[in-house]
């Protein structure tokens, strides 16, 4: 803040905080009375309050009634015209509004010529022309920065919801307290000798109470310096009525001390029912003032009734409905003229005009007191904004008003009530309606006064309350359907449903006939014939009832022949057929592997065959394992990709190899089932420990003796695949191709899979193949003469194979004979 302020009138420098120029008594501080007075701008979320003052119409002065009547006549015409002119919605005042006539009257005439005092009453916005004519420098001195008000509006608009709620509470508090306590503390101080204090409202938050208490303390510590000057005021002018003087004395005493902290409605000092608590002199003053208010008409009002224009004599404060209007210095003569104003008219005037006690305490001196508050920052921000509003200087006219010095024991509530008296509805009018005419005059109090927190009428007039704007959609369409999806979500009636709407154009007809060439159609017909031939039943001549009966007999015949041959071969004690003498290369390779593996070497055995092949597989595998165990005593590790492989392994160990007394986890280990098919085999070939960490008994497998020293697949001495499926053998060969290294691979397979496994032996991917009973028999022949199951089965097998070859040959010859006969018959038929 600058140390000095330059007077815009005389150009002399004044100390900072000086409200009036020391040389020319011009105002240096801006007037922002309306920001803290009951005329304060409306807060977001604050609902306007309707005022029903029509019943007070009989007590209105004549000139006001005339104005009201004229407004009723022109109401319908003037409002739209004025709205079109200004481009703003100017709602007509309610019929029951006491000041409706004033508004209408103001709207009828030219706004530039409208009296200022009337504008302040009706709430008509002041003409901006007057402000624009002012220099920017003077504006800055008197009003502060231009943007201050804009910022305040912006802050109101940007107020969050939670703060809006707080603002509402504040507004509610204003209805009771007239103004928030801290809002006044910025520039007002209470007299130290203030005898009575109105308790704060129950709805007042604690922080407001604390702030009020701090304010009181501050007021006590810093007694107002203007008290002495107020005492120095000259006596009231002789034109001032006594009743007005008495009220003015009260108001002056209160305004000079501090703005009221308590609400007017809850003020006990101004409650008529509790008037007995007031001092006697105060009650007398109030009663006398009330009598005079009803019996005596002010001089200026008499002039008004006589048809004299009152605008010429109206003081400047009446024309300043907003604080943006600078008040010129008022002379003592004007101050005397104001003394004729009744209280209710003063109440309509802005509180911060001439009736506000000039604040002599600079704002800079108040700030330390504010800093002592423990309010949060956001509240300080608001407080600063309102401090600016409350720092408004009192008009210079107040110094000249010859009001009496306020009584030292005037309470705060009384001061607050006086504020209401100056800013709101005239209380004597309300009292006149409530009390019978014959009753004794009621002292003027603000108990029934409208709370100063209520909106001024001109603010209410700017808010659409009763007649909201009609929905623009209703005029276009009756469809009130709200779009809930799509790009038009949220819009109403934008796509009105049109029942019965039918396209006017006929849809174009497209042929559904397949556009195909003759060749394509011929191919399609051929395909259709093929499909029909596949599904059509074809009678087979050979399966006639006679032939079918013969075929069933043939089947029984074949069964009995084979069954008899096998039974005979098994039942005969002496060997019928000799064992095979030669050793095929694939079996020779298996023999080499069985004989060449190291002693006690780990051997991995994959048992992948079905239970139905047990007879053949055990016969084929037993000689190989018997010879290998007998010669090398390998440590066998069994694994299977078949669910039944683990149990078949146990059967194999406990059956054909039972003579070797292999024990689990000592000489052999059953890893059990390896899930995953080819993926499992691939995983096992890459990392056997991770793929199969546990054995069949869920014990750690790789710490057992059979797998000692084995970590990878290539560390096994040999890989033996016992499978009845060529695919199983192929998968093992394929997936272990890159990981098994140079370890030998022997496949012990079923006879049906041998032809498919043979190529792997020819390509040297495996080292030996033992296929079926024939392979087992060959192995038994080369197993040092040890007896085996193959020998027991060999005769039956040989008989069955011989019988099968005979039947196949006989059947072929029979078919050849039938074919020759058919051809001969055909030839004869031709």
């Amino acid at each position: 803040m600058a140390d000095s302020i330059k007077c815009p009138v005389c150009g002399e420098n004044n100390p900072a905080g000086q409200e009036f120029c020391q040389y020319c008594q011009s105002r240096l501080q801006p007037i922002t009375g309306s920001l803290k007075s009951p005329d304060a701008p409306i807060r977001p979320g604050q609902a306007p309050t309707k005022k029903n003052t029509a019943e007070l119409e009989p007590v209105l002065p004549q000139w006001l009634r005339d104005a009201r009547d004229s407004s009723r006549n022109n109401e319908d015409e003037d409002v739209p015209q004025s709205s079109q002119k200004t481009g703003k919605t100017r709602p007509a005042a309610p019929a029951e509004d006491l000041l409706a006539g004033l508004q209408s009257q103001s709207s009828d005439g030219d706004e530039d010529e409208m009296p200022d005092w009337l504008a302040s009453i009706t709430g008509t916005a002041p003409t901006p022309k007057k402000n624009q004519a002012e220099s920017s420098e003077a504006r800055r001195v008197e009003l502060g920065d231009k943007n201050d008000f804009a910022q305040e509006e912006t802050s109101d608009e940007d107020t969050p919801s939670w703060l809006a709620g707080l603002t509402e509470n504040k507004a509610q508090a204003n209805e009771k307290d007239e103004l928030t306590d801290w809002f006044r503390n910025a520039d007002d101080f209470k007299p130290a000798e203030q005898p009575a204090k109105t308790p704060p409202a129950d709805d007042t938050p604690d922080w407001l109470r604390r702030m009020a208490t701090a304010d009181e303390d501050t007021g006590k510590a810093q007694p107002p310096s203007f008290e002495a000057s107020a005492n120095d005021f000259p006596p009231p002018a002789p034109e001032t009525p006594d009743w007005l003087r008495g009220i003015e004395d009260k108001a002056q005493s209160v305004d000079s001390a501090v703005f009221a902290e308590s609400t007017a409605g809850e003020s006990e000092a101004f409650d008529p029912l509790s008037s007995g608590e007031l001092p006697a002199w105060l009650n007398d003053q109030a009663e006398n003032a009330a009598k005079r208010a009803q019996d005596t008409t002010p001089k200026w009002l008499k002039n008004e009734e006589a048809g004299m224009p009152a605008t010429g004599e109206l003081p400047a404060w009446l024309s300043s409905s907003e604080d943006t209007v600078p008040l010129p210095p008022v002379s003592q003569k004007n101050a005397d003229a104001l003394g004729d104003l009744p209280d209710w008219l003063k109440a309509s005037a802005p509180q911060t005009s001439i009736f506000e006690q000039p604040e002599e305490t600079p704002a800079a001196e108040v700030e330390p007191a504010e800093a002592s508050f423990d309010s949060p920052d956001w509240l300080n921000a608001f407080k600063d904004a309102e401090t600016f509003a409350s720092d408004e200087p009192a008009p210079a006219l107040e110094k000249d008003i010859p009001f009496d010095a306020p009584p030292a024991f005037a309470g705060d509530s009384q001061a607050s009530a006086t504020d209401n008296l100056f800013t709101e509805m005239p209380d004597w009018l309300s009292s006149a309606m409530e009390l019978p005419a014959s009753s004794s005059p009621t002292p003027i109090t603000n108990a029934d006064a409208i709370a100063p927190g209520e909106l001024p009428s001109w603010v209410q007039a700017m808010r659409p309350v009763d007649a909201p704007l009609p929905s623009p959609f209703s005029s276009f369409s009756s469809d009130q359907t709200l779009e809930s999806r799509g790009a038009l979500a949220g819009l109403q009636g934008v796509l009105p449903a049109a029942p019965g709407f039918t396209p006017t154009s006929k849809p174009k007809a497209y042929s559904i006939r397949l556009q195909a060439t003759d060749e394509q159609q011929a191919h399609a017909a051929l395909l259709e014939q093929i499909l029909a031939a596949e599904t059509a039943p074809v009678p087979i001549a050979s399966y006639s009832s006679l032939i079918l009966r013969a075929s069933r007999g043939l089947r029984w015949f074949l069964f009995f022949v084979i069954f008899a041959a096998v039974t005979f071969g098994l039942s005969v004690g002496a060997p019928i057929f000799s064992m095979p003498l030669g050793v095929p290369r694939e079996i020779g390779g298996a023999l080499n592997v069985a004989r060449s593996i190291p002693e006690n070497a780990p051997v991995l055995v994959a048992m992948d065959y079905e239970a139905s092949r047990v007879g053949e597989m055990e016969v084929a595998a037993a000689p190989f394992f018997d010879q290998m165990i007998l010669l090398k005593h390998p440590r066998l590790t069994f694994i299977s990709t078949n669910e039944t492989g683990s149990v078949l392994t146990e059967r194999f160990i406990s059956g054909p190899l039972a003579g070797h007394n292999y024990e689990n986890r000592i000489t052999y280990l059953n890893l059990g089932y390896l899930p995953g098919g080819q993926l499992g085999i691939r995983a096992f070939s890459l990392n056997p420990r991770a793929a199969s960490p546990l054995d069949m008994s869920l014990q750690p497998a790789w710490a057992s003796a059979p797998l000692e020293g084995v970590a990878t697949l290539s560390q096994f001495a040999a890989l033996v695949l016992v499978t009845d499926s060529a695919d199983a053998a192929r998968v093992w060969i394929e997936q272990t191709e890159s990981t098994r290294g140079e370890i030998p691979v022997v496949v012990i397979s079923s006879a049906q899979a041998a032809p498919m496994i043979q190529p792997y032996f020819d390509s040297q991917q495996i080292n030996g193949v033992v296929a079926g009973l024939y392979g087992g028999a060959v192995f038994e022949q080369n197993n040092a003469g040890r007896p085996g199951v193959a020998r027991n089965y060999w005769d039956a097998y040989s008989l069955g194979m011989l019988l099968a070859m005979s039947l196949a040959l006989g059947g072929g010859l029979w078919n050849l004979a039938l074919g020759l006969r058919d051809r001969a018959s055909a030839r004869e038929a031709k």
């Binding site: 047990v614 669910e643 039944t644 027991n792 194979m801």
Partner: protein, 230 residues
């Protein structure tokens, strides 16, 4: 009479063997009973194996007693399994697509890579190596035999492939016939295919005959043991 476990299992085996042999008279309830029992027992056994050898040691045990890494690695297949279980619901079946895609994709990669590296390339190389006479002599095969085997394998492979060439052109009489040389090669290829199928049939017959022999041998042993005990 003392009922030993081997006797009981022998009686059961004999009964079920006769039930299966009853198929000679056609499809009958006895055969179906035997098949249903086999299927049910097999399914139960597979479920037990899956529980005690897969779910418990490979999924539940790591989740409960495993380290953090083991738990994480076990949680992944658990999540995939739950996704697959959601296929029971038609609306939630889409959730299993991710898991199924992973399984199919990984399986296809493993299968293709294994087939190429483990079968296709080695078999092509083996077919070529049949004409490596020195290598054949090194393993004890005469050059003539090696060359003859090579020719049989070469022509057998070529003719068998030609047999499956079904491209034909229309003739003047309207019939569709393959090119003459291809027709001859296909006829030779059909012989090779016939021999191969004959060999496979012989192997199937040999396997079935061996199974029959084993079953008859077990019946004989059962009766011999049964009457021998008396």
């Amino acid at each position: 009479m003392i009922f030993q476990p081997d006797l009981i299992t022998g009686v059961i085996s004999f009964i079920f063997t006769l039930l299966i042999f009853s198929y000679l008279i056609g499809d009958n309830p006895l055969f179906r009973i035997a098949v249903y029992i086999f299927v049910g027992v097999s399914a139960g056994y597979v479920a037990a194996i899956a529980l005690w050898q897969v779910i418990v040691p490979r999924l539940a045990y790591p989740l409960v007693f495993g380290s953090m890494n083991e738990k994480i690695f076990a949680a992944i297949p658990l999540l995939g399994s739950l996704f697959i279980l959601l296929k029971v619901s038609s609306r939630m079946a889409g959730v299993a697509r991710m898991t199924m895609a992973f399984l199919v994709g990984t399986g296809a990669a493993v299968i293709v890579a294994g087939a190429v590296m483990g079968t296709l390339i080695p078999q092509v190389g083996a077919t070529i190596n049949f004409f490596d006479l020195n290598a054949a002599v090194a393993v004890g095969i005469s050059k003539g035999e090696a060359f003859g085997n090579g020719l049989v394998v070469l022509f057998g492979a070529i003719f068998s492939l030609v047999y499956f060439h079904f491209g034909a052109s229309p003739k003047a009489d309207g019939s569709m016939r393959r090119f003459g040389l291809i027709e001859i090669a296909a006829w030779v290829g059909r012989i090779f295919i016939g021999i191969t199928l004959g060999a496979i049939f012989a192997g199937v017959y040999a396997a079935a005959l061996t199974a029959l022999i084993e079953r008859i041998a077990s019946i004989i042993n059962f009766f011999s043991n049964l009457f021998g005990n008396f």
